[in-house]
């Protein structure tokens, strides 16, 4: 098939016409032939009917002359090959192929008709027989059929040519023109297709109008998109500048915490190891699990999450504190902000240290000790094995009054050293005020152990203390012990019990250790809830 739509449609129409013409011709030829044969046979019968009356007279009168006249007339028809007229058994006239002169050839068919008397219809007076030439009938029928086919073919050809021409003029040529124009059209030029003249209202015109509308929309969309892209580029450049110049580490993570991209500040903070592709959890070791948990939490909740992390020193930097903020960016991406908060953390802890320490002894002050105790006895902890020791110094007031505050301060510092020597590093020692101290012993399994430590402390502080200028002070101490219950009671309750035990120890005489009774509601882990004074080691 040719590629041109014009040639293709024309060829298709002509081909269709030829095929249909052949089909119709075949049908017509067949029908016409059959009809023509029938018609010729009918014509023979009509001929017979025409001459019947005269034949009847000829037979009635045995009139050979009349019969010959009739036969002569009949023989003028080409399909009649021969005529025989019989009057009874006598042949009035006979002209057949075999007997009377040349017949019209070919196979012959006899069409015979009995002849009755013109005056008495019941009386048969003769018979007329026509010999019909098959070949002649065939020839005539074929000629007629051929003529029909010829006319049909001519008509079909003319119609096909007319249809092809019309289709070309009305459809294919305008379509081809539009196609050619479209082919040459540049989308940006704002050029439009021209509507073929007189076709504004029909489908071709509609097609052109639609294509024009489509092109307008397309160019508009392109312009809009170009403007948007330019605006976005500017915005992105501005943002990139901010990100690049920021002091905060800014990075994009996927939902599993792998770094997709990061800014220079991030690498500055974490060192050269912070390259895209690494897992943030691994970069922030040993806080990997916590970081992963924060990322997962923010991802699943869609809310920002913060965590402060202390990073140990490595080859490239010292120990630092960072604040990690994780935000969901939508989709599966997360944004993480990393701020170096080392300075702030340092300042914070310094301030806290300052606030919770006793400046003279370096022990926790009242506030710091209360906080430590509260932490130890937090309601969330189910079991605490701890003992609270309250220590009150004996005879300290005399030292202060006799040798002055400076000597008092030296005594207090020495006592603090004794405390710190007597307890483990994990135990907490605080100066509650004046000459009153408190100690929390953690991990105490039995009361005896606490009492032993208490006695060690009393022994320690009962030693003479050098207060300068060759002078030594002799002080002592009384200790009240209260054990943390299970579940732990409030810090105030424990403190109160220890205070009462200490008071009891003081009442009983200096240098004593007194263990507080268990509150009625609580069970003692040691099984003994009675208050007793331990005086065996009194100083």
């Amino acid at each position: 098939m040719p590629r041109s739509v014009v040639a293709r449609t024309s060829l298709s129409i002509l081909l269709l016409a030829v095929v249909m013409g052949m089909v119709f011709s075949a049908i017509a030829s067949w029908r016409v032939r059959a009809a023509e044969q029938d018609r010729l046979i009918a014509r023979v019968h009509e001929l017979l009917a025409t001459v019947e009356n005269t034949v009847s007279i000829a037979c009635f009168l045995n009139d050979a002359t009349l019969a010959k006249e009739i036969a002569g007339g009949l023989m003028k028809n080409r399909i009649v090959a021969g005529v025989t007229v019989m009057a009874g058994t006598t042949i009035l006239y006979g002209n057949t192929a075999g007997t009377f002169g040349p017949g019209r050839g070919g196979e012959l068919d006899n069409v015979s008709k009995p002849i009755y008397s013109p005056f008495s219809p019941g009386e048969q007076v003769g018979r007329i027989t026509l010999q019909v030439s098959h070949a002649e009938i065939e020839a005539q029928a074929t000629a007629n059929a051929r003529y029909t086919v010829w006319v049909l073919t001519l008509q079909m050809s003319v119609v096909a040519a007319a249809v092809a021409l019309l289709v070309y003029l009305l459809v294919t040529r305008p379509v081809k023109a539009i196609s050619d124009e479209l082919h040459k059209l540049e989308i940006r030029s704002g050029m439009r297709l021209t509507v073929p003249s007189g076709r504004r209202k029909d489908e071709i015109g509609q097609l052109v109008v639609d294509v024009n509308a489509l092109m307008t929309r397309l160019t508009d969309a392109l312009d809009t998109e170009r403007d948007l892209r330019r605006a976005q580029e500017i915005s992105e450049r501005r943002l990139q500048l901010v990100v690049d110049k920021a002091d905060t580490g800014i990075l994009v993570l996927d939902e599993l915490g792998a770094v997709q991209s990061c800014n220079p500040a991030f690498m500055r903070i974490l060192g050269p190891a912070a390259q895209p592709g690494a897992r943030l959890g691994a970069l922030l070791a040993p806080h990997g699990p916590a970081v992963d948990a924060v990322i997962a939490d923010s991802y699943s909740s869609g809310k920002p999450r913060d965590i402060d992390l202390e990073l140990a020193a490595n080859d490239t930097r010292g120990a630092i504190w960072v604040e990690l903020s994780v935000n969901s960016l939508g989709d599966t991406l997360m944004q993480a902000l990393v701020n170096d908060i080392t300075e702030r953390k340092g300042a914070e802890s310094a301030a806290q240290e300052l606030a919770s320490r006793d400046t003279l002894t370096g022990l926790l002050n009242r506030r710091g000790f209360d906080a430590a105790l509260a932490k130890l006895l937090a309601p969330s902890r189910r079991q605490v094995r701890a003992a609270l020791l309250l220590v009150d110094l004996d005879r300290f007031k005399q030292v202060n009054d006799t040798y002055g505050h400076e000597a008092g301060d030296r005594v207090l510092r020495e006592v603090a050293c004794v405390f710190e020597r007597s307890v483990r590093r994990t135990d907490t020692v605080g100066r509650l005020g004046g000459d009153e101290f408190a100690i929390v012993l953690g991990g105490i399994d039995c009361p005896e152990k606490a009492q032993e430590i208490a006695r060690t402390i009393i022994d320690g502080i009962s030693q003479p203390i050098d207060i300068g200028a060759g002078l030594k002070s002799h002080i002592g101490g009384s200790i009240g012990i209260a054990f943390a219950g299970n579940p732990p009671e409030s810090p105030a309750g424990l403190m109160h019990r220890a205070d009462r035990a200490m008071y009891a120890a003081k009442q009983a005489g200096r240098g004593r250790v007194c263990v507080a009774a268990w509150p009625a509601a609580l069970n003692s882990p040691a099984g003994d809830a009675t208050e007793h004074d331990d005086e065996s080691d009194a100083a």
């Binding site: 009168l61 002359t65 009349l66 013109p118 005056f119």
Partner: protein, 145 residues
């Protein structure tokens, strides 16, 4: 006066004849008594009058006589005999003119002449209304409706 009566009589006769033809029409075929023929069949009459055999059964040549006057005897005769109208009979003879094999019956102007001809000619054979019969002829076939 006689003449007037005669005309009147004739008129009555004619009227009777016409009436008879229409109601109890009866045409008789007559021959000369000397012909020796007693009876003729209908087919024999047809053959003779329409030219098939122009012979009497006795072998004598037959001379059929047609009445050509406006009287309707001829029409009645052919109608009763072969169910043909006078025009059809004329057409019949017209077709045979050229062949020369046979000829139409001899024409006489009226029944009276026909009767006279039969009376005088032994070959003659004619048809008349029964009312026109004379003693000089012999009826060989009566054709009724």
């Amino acid at each position: 006066m006689n003449r007037i009566l005669a005309i009147f009589f004739c008129c009555c006769l004619l009227a009777h004849g016409v009436a008879g033809a229409n109601e109890t029409a009866s045409i008789v075929v007559i021959v000369n008594p000397a012909s020796g023929i007693e009876k003729l069949s209908r087919d024999e009459v047809i053959d003779i009058f329409l030219g098939r055999y122009r012979k009497l059964p006795t072998g004598r040549v037959a001379m059929p006589i047609d009445i050509s006057n406006p009287n309707d005897e001829r029409a009645l005769f052919y109608k009763l005999l072969v169910s043909k109208s006078p025009a059809e009979i004329s057409s019949y003879w017209a077709r045979l003119v050229f062949s020369g094999k046979t000829s139409p019956p001899f024409q006489v102007p009226d029944a009276r002449t026909a009767v006279e001809l039969v009376e005088s000619n032994p070959n003659a054979i004619a048809y008349v209304d029964r009312a026109a019969l004379t003693h000089g002829v012999k009826v060989v076939l009566e054709i009724k409706r």
